[in-house]
């Protein structure tokens, strides 16, 4: 019995080592895995995550925004619309995640980074591709086989080398979250097909991945750009995408820039604040460059740009912060907190006169601010000019 199992295991190893990678058949709409399958276990765990997602304190509950994103997802998903459930969560950084069971989690940081509806359609289409092609299941299977191989090799190597020491390292499962390049190509092609069918401009796909890779810069990875860690986008993938997009001529295709920015406008300041809160100044400044290129500089973006410099506080940062606060103040709809931030920068420079003036402007504009008493205390503590 044992030897039969051993032989079976050895066969599995050989198959896996031989790179036997026949893809799984696509899911058809309304498909559910057989309860006896390994895939069903994955779906069950995903269902538990989905239940938590539904009631998460970080869930974005605004019905308008949910309706808007769901509408786009449904259009892109086409026949798979009933299989895809969208969850918006308040989460800085670039991330979206398709669970194996069709629950699609979209982070607020992704929404902030998108230029238009077509880019949103591109991301949803790509994630849908991973769902339809059952890539999570395929990935889990590969990881299991990989860990089995490492375990066997570890034990055999230890045994043959005569060392009784630390085989445990070899026995720890290694988790590698990234999709393979062939999975990325497959997801890209489904995504492109679906978004084009929904009437969106395919060029948005290239824009989106290009801007995301540019935001990453020369780094290998960033905790702010988790999407890129899971969906590697090397130059070869972008080239392939560019070629595929060029082949799809679509003169009347929709970008939906104005509609998208209008839907996002009420949330933009809060999402920008979430990014600043991560205190990854280099990354956040790159993000802000991306947003300025896409949408231009408005008072809100200029204010948070100043905030990044104020919070970093390197040698020229105070001046840079004041420069951006100045820009914000000249643009329409500057936030009230602007004068408080100017006051804090001036105070840290011991420029008591300017600090006083800024704090007083803040109090005059917001006499009932929740922190008015604290600001008055700062005024009282400052030495006379």
């Amino acid at each position: 019995m044992r030897w039969i199992s051993l032989t079976a295991s050895a066969m599995t190893l050989l198959l896996a080592l031989g790179g036997c990678s026949a893809g799984l058949p696509e899911l058809v709409p309304r498909a559910r895995p057989d309860i006896r399958s390994d895939e069903a276990g994955l779906w069950l765990v995903a269902a538990k995550s989905e239940a938590a997602l539904q009631q998460a304190p970080t869930a974005i509950s605004d019905p308008g925004l949910n309706r808007y994103v769901r509408g786009i997802a449904c259009k892109v998903a086409g026949p798979y619309c009933p299989d895809i459930r969208v969850y918006l969560v308040r989460e800085p950084g670039l991330d979206a995640r398709m669970l194996p069971n069709g629950a699609l989690q979209i982070g607020s940081g992704l929404l902030l980074r998108l230029r238009d509806e077509a880019q949103l359609a591109a991301v949803i289409g790509h994630e849908l591709g991973h769902y339809v092609e059952r890539h999570s299941f395929d990935k889990a299977w590969r990881q299991r086989v990989g860990s089995d191989i490492r375990a066997w090799l570890g034990v055999l190597a230890q045994g043959l080398a005569g060392g009784g020491g630390d085989a445990a390292d070899a026995l720890m499962p290694v988790r590698d979250g990234a999709f393979s390049s062939s999975q990325e190509i497959a997801a890209d092609s489904i995504g492109l097909r679906q978004m084009t069918a929904a009437g969106y401009a395919p060029a948005a796909v290239v824009d989106f991945w290009h801007a995301s890779v540019a935001e990453l810069g020369e780094r290998q990875s960033s905790i702010a750009l988790r999407l890129l860690a899971r969906h590697p986008a090397p130059g070869s993938r972008l080239d392939r995408l560019r070629t595929a997009v060029a082949a799809v001529a679509e003169p009347h295709a929709v970008r939906g820039y104005v509609r998208y920015q209008a839907a996002l406008a009420p949330f933009r300041a809060a999402f920008l604040a979430d990014e600043v809160r991560l205190r990854l100044p280099t990354e956040t400044l790159r993000l802000f460059e991306r947003l300025r290129r896409q949408q231009g500089l408005d008072a809100t973006l200029a204010f948070y740009w100043g905030e990044v410099y104020r919070l970093r506080g390197w040698k020229d940062d105070r001046q840079l912060a004041l420069k951006f606060y100045g820009e914000a103040s000249r643009l329409p709809n500057a936030p009230v907190a602007l004068d408080r931030s100017i006051g804090l920068v001036r105070r840290s420079e011991s420029d008591w006169l300017a600090a006083r003036a800024a704090f007083r402007r803040y109090l005059a504009a917001a006499p009932d601010a929740a922190d008015a008493a604290m600001i008055r205390a700062y005024l009282a503590e400052m030495p006379e000019a």
């Binding site: 938590a52 304190p57 969560v89 809160r277 991560l278 604290m374 205390a377």
Partner: protein, 191 residues
């Protein structure tokens, strides 16, 4: 086996191997850095820092309620512990309460919590010194919501903070008066 149990049930408290909870006497307890508070037997002391604190006290366990003490925290060091260099998280001696509250919110968010909110800081007296106080709330990675408040003061010896948090569903309301009592009894020894 214990490791398996802990992992299997998703405990993530980050207790070190030699950690040991100690009883608290009903007497003045020196927390460190010249800070002392009136103790009570309802508390347990966890000597190793949690979230970078110099001491952590709890009634029902760190996953449910906790009082964190930061004492004589110096210029140029982050409040919480960080694996890599994070200059943007360093405390600066000339920071205002507004900036400290922002720093606190950043630290909580970076520790994996969601929906982090901080209330507006208010001027209060702390250990007889001019200080500040602000409320905060967050949801831990499993989604359990906590409420809390921070009271502190920046002194020549560094920053002193006492931060209380408890589950919104029960522990915050149940233990807030005990936490207020600790804070009200705080004294900072002048050398």
């Amino acid at each position: 086996m214990r490791r398996v149990l802990v992992l299997a049930l998703g405990l993530a408290v980050g207790l070190t191997a030699c950690a040991r909870f100690q009883p608290v006497q009903r007497d003045r307890v020196a927390v460190g850095g010249g800070l002392s508070v009136m103790g009570s037997a309802v508390w347990n002391r966890f000597p190793v820092g949690v979230l970078g604190a110099d001491a952590a006290w709890t009634q029902d366990g760190l996953p449910l309620d906790r009082v964190l003490f930061y004492v004589a925290h110096g210029d140029g060091t982050p409040l919480f512990e960080h694996g890599r260099d994070r200059r943007s998280l360093e405390y600066r001696a000339n920071m205002t309460a507004t900036e400290i509250a922002d720093l606190w919110a950043s630290e909580l968010a970076l520790a994996g919590n969601g929906d982090v909110r901080t209330g507006a800081p208010q001027p209060v007296r702390f250990a007889g010194l001019p200080g500040f106080r602000f409320d905060y709330s967050y949801a831990n990675p499993s989604g359990l919501v906590f409420d809390g408040f921070v009271v502190g003061a920046a002194t020549a010896k560094g920053l002193y903070l006492i931060a209380f948090a408890g589950t919104r569903a029960h522990h915050f309301l149940a233990y807030r008066s005990a936490a207020e009592h600790l804070i009200g009894s705080a004294e900072i020894a002048v050398e």
